[in-house]
């Protein structure tokens, strides 16, 4: 009995330390966490409706048939600022091929904080104001940036938590753009219920 107790305790402590380290979000590697869903296993991206800076309601379902880079960010997030120029370039380069970037700001201070940032950084893609409801819809969003690349069928194809590589994004976008769009009837995103979570500011 005593022989088993010590190794078991060591294993439990090791697992515990590993779990604790993981949940702090601290990592020493250069890139964030990324995941790819096999095409057959892709799940519909949860639909939502948020407001843009002009107060217009924008739904993810409006983008059916397009490849969408859905980026959750905030003005106070340094790594997010690194990605923004890449996204501006992607928007410009691939817009004509059916691609769009949607930036959802998670700033608690709302447009007061976001608008000046968007002007200063000359953001050329659509920015929406998010809140906790959309955060929950997309898994909590404890860390930013968190980005999802959504295929033409409105399904989650790639997920990046934390700063990802520019070339990684590029290759994922190109691969999804290369796949043919299916009929509108099969679009998972259109079938998902819309949730109006826009902050009126």
């Amino acid at each position: 009995m005593r022989r088993l107790t010590l190794p078991a305790a060591i294993v439990l402590i090791a697992i515990g330390i590993f779990s604790f380290d993981s949940c702090t979000g601290s990592k020493s590697k250069a890139a964030g966490e990324a995941s790819k869903a096999a095409e057959a296993a892709r799940k519909p991206a949860p639909n939502f409706t948020l407001r843009d800076e002009n107060g217009a309601a924008v739904s993810l379902a409006d983008y059916k048939g397009k490849v969408v880079l859905l980026n959750f960010w905030a003005t106070w997030c340094g790594p997010c600022q690194i990605e923004i120029p890449w996204f501006e370039q992607f928007e410009q380069q691939y817009k004509s091929q059916g691609f769009a970037v949607l930036g959802v700001s998670m700033d608690d201070d709302g447009w007061q904080a976001v608008k000046p940032f968007v002007v200063t950084h000359k953001v050329n893609y659509r920015i929406l104001l998010g809140n906790d409801s959309i955060g929950q819809l997309y898994g909590g969003l404890d860390a930013l940036p968190t980005s999802f690349i959504i295929d033409r069928e409105g399904r989650l194809a790639y997920t990046h938590v934390g700063l990802a590589g520019k070339n990684e994004y590029l290759s994922e976008i190109q691969s999804l753009l290369a796949s043919k769009a299916q009929s509108a009837a099969s679009l998972g995103v259109a079938a998902a219920p819309a949730l109006l979570v826009g902050a009126a500011e």
Binding site: F20, G25, S26, P145, G162, L163
Partner: protein, 143 residues
């Protein structure tokens, strides 16, 4: 393992730890200094009190209640780091924030608390966590 789960839950909310300060004892009219010890979790940094980018949220200690008057709050010299080409002024590991208090002449004698909050924003090299505040309580004995 189960015993460590509460630690995990705690870690998801707090990226830094404030060591509960010891009681300070001071006479009416005196000036006293107190250093609050703060530890940032390994692998993380928090923005300094003067971040290099105007959009980044600074570390800020604010005393909100209690018998003492706050004269000044002093932060240590930040560490300059570079993340993805972005220059940052941050605090990592353990450091102290010094507050200078004045005990008012009309302060009531006895033991009570100064209360405050420490607002911070933590990141690692790949991601940032939502800005957060932690409550601070400093026991004070006025003689």
């Amino acid at each position: 393992m189960l015993l460590l789960l509460p630690l995990c839950s705690w870690a998801q909310q707090n990226k830094l730890i404030v060591t509960p300060p010891e009681m300070i004892t001071a006479k009416r009219g005196a000036t006293v200094k107190q250093t609050l010890r703060v530890s940032v979790l390994p692998g993380l940094h928090v923005n300094s009190d003067k971040p290099k980018d105007e959009y980044l949220i600074p570390l800020k200690l604010t005393w909100t209640g209690g018998p003492l008057e706050t004269k000044s709050v002093s932060y240590p010299k930040p560490e300059d780091i570079k993340v993805g080409g972005q220059e940052l002024a941050v605090f990592t590991g353990s450091f102290g924030i010094e507050t200078e208090f004045k005990v008012p002449e009309n302060a009531s004698a006895g033991t009570t608390n100064m209360t405050g909050k420490l607002r911070y924003q933590a990141c690692n090299n790949e991601m940032c966590f939502r800005p957060a505040s932690t409550e601070v309580k400093l026991p004070v004995s006025v003689e």
